[in-house]
């Protein structure tokens, strides 16, 4: 079954690449604006040989990792605090629902004003976008705590911290992990978008430079790299999720009693 999936996946990718080669070659779109796969691959090889590419990749990953870490920690802490402090959830619900849908990209002028075109601008937007993913999942996770388990822990005399640690956290963790996985993808999108739009150092800026330079194959090569990064981020996030939840029934695959 698993082997079949891999073969199917590889066949799908091969078909996609072949389509990318054929469409411009057949003249359906102009080669000048959408180069065939082979030319993009050649440009990719050139890029990989360039030191500037690697430092750009490093900048993007730095922005992504720092932003994701800050957003995840803040999301979990705020989520737990908002949930367990009485009345705080109700008091903040409308504010959260107001702030959450604001697209991070709309804050670009603010980021530029505060931090110019530096890493901090990227962080501001990455953290803003991915924070909500983690926060909302944490809130739902905490809400899902079994009241009987909570009451039992209470009657056994467990303190607030012990109940957070042994009752709330195991219940919320699967939700938090989903939040972090979603946030990981959002953080990458935002990191590259910010670099592309305001020119903070990183892959996004390289894409923008290629665009303004009329270097079309190079631009697509960098876009492919962005796609590959997204793929890796997703695989990595799923692995972390599976590890952290190895004990959970959703991962163990056993039927809950």
């Amino acid at each position: 079954m698993r082997g079949g999936n891999v073969v199917l996946g590889a066949a799908g990718l091969a078909a996609f690449l072949a389509l990318g080669e054929a469409v411009p070659r057949l003249g359906l779109v102009k080669e000048a604006y959408f180069p065939p796969t082979s030319r993009i691959a050649a440009a990719l090889v050139d890029e990989v040989a360039d030191a500037a590419f690697w430092s750009a990749l490093g900048d993007t990953l730095t922005g992504w990792a720092l932003g994701l870490a800050i957003a995840s920690c803040a999301g979990v802490v705020v989520g737990v605090v908002v949930s367990i402090v009485p009345y705080l959830r109700d008091a903040t619900a409308s504010t959260i629902e107001f702030l959450r849908p604001i697209p991070s990209v709309a804050l670009i002028p603010l980021a530029v004003l505060l931090y110019g075109t530096e890493l901090k601008s990227v962080l501001l937007l990455v953290v803003y976008a991915s924070f909500w993913q983690v926060l909302i999942q944490t809130l739902y996770g905490v809400q899902d705590v079994d009241p009987v388990a909570e009451e039992t822990a209470r009657s056994y005399g467990l303190g607030t911290w012990a109940r957070v640690r042994h009752v709330l956290w195991p219940t919320a963790l699967p939700y938090v992990m989903t939040g972090v996985r979603l946030a990981a993808a959002v953080a990458l999108i935002l990191a590259i978008t910010t670099e592309l739009v305001i020119g903070a150092p990183g892959l996004g800026r390289q894409i923008a430079v290629a665009q303004t330079s009329q270097a079309v194959p190079e631009m697509y090569a960098l876009i492919v790299v962005a796609g590959l990064l997204g793929l890796l981020v997703n695989v990595g996030a799923r692995t972390v999720e599976r590890r952290a939840l190895a004990w959970h029934q959703s991962v163990r695959g056993e039927v809950a009693v």
């Binding site: 000048a32 505060l114 739009v197 020119g199 800026r205």
Partner: protein, 322 residues
């Protein structure tokens, strides 16, 4: 599981700590001097226009003045004016219409050195109003009722295109201007999504290589040898650091003169900060890099801009220009 979550938390906290650490050595101290060399941040768009400063840095013209430029490429230029006003950059590169708009909006900006000028040669300018090979349009007058792409509405290219139409005897109000990034114009023109495009290099070279025709040189229609863009700083910085501004002006003037005299070296340095393919770069028409701005041409841009309703009030050129 406990160890893992502890590890994850510890790692995350470490990352947060690094984030805080690196944010301390922020930009506010840029422009400070150490060992007799003042490092200044320059916000610019990585295009052909700014080649003289890259060249000047390489030739040591800035070092001679005790300056070190830190190039901070920003996309589209939208980040540059706020960046300079908020002190993220000490200097920036912007077109003069944007500077006039910024000034009339109450932003404290001040031009300090010349940037680029149009070549003033019709058909041989870095900026052109172009149509595709088989287009029936022969003159800007025929653009009435047609769609023309410019990079930014209510800015210098709107002034230029409207003037080109006006000069050809057409009514600029009848031309539909749409906003589009320069790099997308060749494809859009080719696909027929737009009827004409006001492009700059290297997109101009791309369109020429596809057989596109230039029906006007809009900047030439504005004035001969228009000062298109300049280097600027904030009024506060100019007041607090007149010595740095003076050094920047001198080194920039020397760089502009050098680039003007050595176009091949200018072309060469462009490859270090852009990805323009060598085949395209050969075809690119370089702008003029005079050391001094052409005030008459800026006045012409201002008058036309006022006519087109670009400014809230009349720009004060005496305050804006060096």
């Amino acid at each position: 599981m406990r160890r893992l979550s502890a590890g994850l938390t510890a790692g995350a906290l470490l990352l947060v700590a690094t984030a805080c650490g690196s944010s301390d050595d922020g930009s506010s101290d840029a422009g400070a001097s150490s060992g007799g060399v003042t490092t200044v941040k320059l916000g610019l768009i990585p295009i052909v226009d700014v080649a003289p400063l890259y060249l000047g840095q390489k030739q040591g013209f800035f070092e001679k003045q005790g300056l070190k430029l830190e190039f901070t490429p920003a996309q589209g230029g939208a980040a540059i004016v706020p960046g300079v006003v908020s002190g993220q950059f000490q200097f920036g590169f912007s077109n003069v219409t944007s500077l006039m708009v910024a000034q009339t909006n109450g932003l404290p900006v001040q031009a300090v050195a010349n940037g680029i000028a149009s070549t003033g040669v019709r058909g041989k300018d870095f900026n052109g109003l172009m149509v595709k090979k088989d287009s029936p349009v022969k003159s800007p007058k025929q653009l009435e009722g047609k769609k023309v792409a410019i990079n930014t509405l209510k800015n210098i290219n709107e002034t230029a295109v409207r003037q080109a139409v006006r000069k050809a005897g057409g009514d600029p109000d009848k031309v539909e201007l749409v906003e589009m990034a320069f790099d997308q114009m060749p494809a859009a023109l080719d696909q027929g999504q737009i009827d004409a495009a006001c492009v700059v290099e290297p997109a101009t070279a791309t369109i020429r290589s596809q057989g596109g025709r230039e029906i006007a040189s809009p900047l030439v229609d504005v004035a001969p040898e228009v000062t298109v863009a300049m280097y600027f700083t904030s009024t506060q910085y100019a007041q607090q650091h007149p010595d740095v501004v003076k050094k920047f002006q001198d080194a920039t003037a020397e760089s502009l003169a050098y680039a003007e005299a050595h176009p091949d070296e200018a072309r060469q340095i462009v490859t270090t900060y852009t990805k323009i393919p060598a085949s395209v770069l050969e075809q690119v028409i370089l702008p003029k890099w005079p050391s001094e701005p052409n005030r008459a041409s800026i006045e012409a841009l201002m008058k036309l801009g006022e006519e087109d309703g670009l400014f809230k009030k009349t720009p004060d050129l005496d305050a804006l220009l060096p």
